[in-house]
């Protein structure tokens, strides 16, 4: 009896928190699918459809704007950064997990501190550097800079992950005459696959969400990643096209949600590992 009432009480408090967390997404969906006449009629109940739902806004977004281009831009940058992050963080994390000497420790601390450096501290000088490199308005600017947001955390993550792989395996491979590169490729990579997938997904999600660097470095419409384009190109002056805007917000959130869904198992498990012990 006590158990039952306590569960009811928990849900009683949890539901308002869930509504708070999820309402903006409900609102996005509703707006994206409502007819304009329904949207701007003050007599209708705004929390549900007053007229039949429509796909007009989605159709407008996909055919009359550069939405697909922006979506592709975000996708290209996300995939490239995920790849670069794995290529840099895997060897780095491996070195930190196996080679313990003063220089590697110093580099490790450097990585940790650079993870804390906020974008707002660097976007001004970076915009100038990228200008000088001729990368203004180029997706390469983002592909070059975004790994600074992902590599420090992922290197640390891989370090922790690889420590769990016994060193005896390394030594056995060495005795068989493996070079460091082939050791990494043949022994470490197969064993560390879940960790590698985690950092790749993490990098993709971080990259897709980034805003300050993207809005600073990219002002040409055709090179904009989706979040920047949605907040600039889809809003002309003070005119907000709420239907297509909410459709863009909704569709643009889908990739990070899907990628995170794959990521969450390892991610949450990694953080709640203490529980298993």
């Amino acid at each position: 009896m006590h158990r039952k009432s306590s569960t009811f009480f928990t849900w009683l408090l949890l539901v308002p928190l869930l509504i708070f967390a999820l309402f903006p997404f409900y609102w996005m969906t509703l707006t994206a699918l409502k007819q304009d006449a329904d949207l701007y009629a003050s007599t209708n109940n705004p929390f549900w459809f007053g007229m039949a739902p429509t796909l007009d806004h989605v159709r407008f977004l996909l055919t009359e704007t550069r939405f697909l281009r922006w979506f592709a831009n975000s996708m290209i940058v996300g995939l490239c950064v995920a790849g670069i992050t794995v290529l840099v963080a895997l060897p780095g994390g491996y070195a930190l997990s196996r080679y313990n000497f003063a220089l590697s420790r110093a580099l490790g601390i450097g990585m940790f501190v650079s993870y804390l450096v906020p974008q707002a501290l660097l976007f001004i000088p970076l915009s100038r550097m990228l200008n000088d490199l001729g990368l203004r308005d180029s997706l390469f600017a983002l592909i070059l800079v975004y790994p600074t947001l992902t590599v420090p955390f992922c290197t640390w993550f891989m370090m922790g992950y690889l420590r769990a792989i016994p060193r005896q395996l390394d030594e056995a491979a060495r005795l068989d005459g493996c070079s460091t590169v082939s050791l990494l490729l043949r022994v470490i990579v197969p064993l560390a696959k879940p960790g590698i997938v985690t950092i790749a997904l993490y990098s993709f999600v971080v990259t897709w969400q980034e805003y300050l660097y993207a809005i600073t470095f990219i002002s040409a419409s055709e090179s904009k990643p989706l979040p920047v384009a949605a907040t600039t190109d889809l809003i002309r002056g003070d005119v907000y096209f709420w239907g297509p805007l909410m459709a863009a917000a909704l569709l643009g959130s889908v990739p990070t949600v899907i990628f995170f869904a794959f990521l969450s198992k390892t991610f949450v498990a990694g953080m709640t590992k203490g529980a298993v012990k």
Binding site: G92, Q119, I124, T180, P227
Partner: protein, 306 residues
Amino acid sequence: MTGWPMRLLSPLARKRLAPHLTGVALLLPGFLLVSLLIAWPFVASVYLALSDAHIRRLRSPAFVGFENFLLLLEDETFWRAVQNTFVFTFSAVILKIGLGLAMALLLFRLRGGRAPATAGLLLPWVAPIALSVIAWVWIFDTQFSPINWLLIHTGLMTSGLVFLGEPTLAMMSVVLVNAWRSFPFFGLMILAGLIGIPRSLYEAAEVDGATGWRRFRYITLPMLRVVLLILVLYSMIFTFNEFAVIHVLTRGGPADATQVFSTLAFQRGILSGNIGEAAAITLFFLPVFLVVSIAMLRLSGKDPAP
């Protein structure tokens, strides 16, 4: 690592150095990335802050000493931004801890349905922030806000609130949206902390007849101390530098009521082109960043939790 430089060394030195060199070589890409794209721009920002760099000026910038900093100290908008940044950071971090604790404690009590409830609560943190803030702009719309509709139709108010047009309300709105976005992360980390607390502590407390509140006060909170401290420090840095929420929601308005360091630097540096001044503004982040990262390094030395 068996390149030609190694051949210059004696065989013994070669043997002792080889593993170190391999380690350094493996770390090198990450190190280059961090030094070229984090450390170097940081140095450049000091240089720019001491210069009259401007986007429309083609000649290389001239050294002007501390002029940019002195100008800022006399600038009312800058002081407004300093004040706002602190108000914004403290209110948002407190709200995030409150909501995060609530989320963690509630999820922890659940027997069934924890996974879907967690997934739902994590959504604000997973969706791209700039995109979900557009939804908030729409939710806060003067004419069509669903919150106003509720307030008016339940008879609580006769006319709606102007969320983003009134200074205090605008600040409350940006704080709320920032907390909305990051409390799930707090909740998740605190939940992990809760799960890690040994059950035996609570059983002992039960034997001693401790009530719910006393258990929370004398067992749960002290056991969560390190997790909470790390979360607060970590989120101080990132809340202090929040850009997307404020830029999309209010652009620092109305009349600079929500102007913070990052939005001011963006407006002065990127929109108006005054690079030197903007670099000086961003350097004001530095004290906060240094204090917090030193504190975090010391904490992580004590407890390798994060």
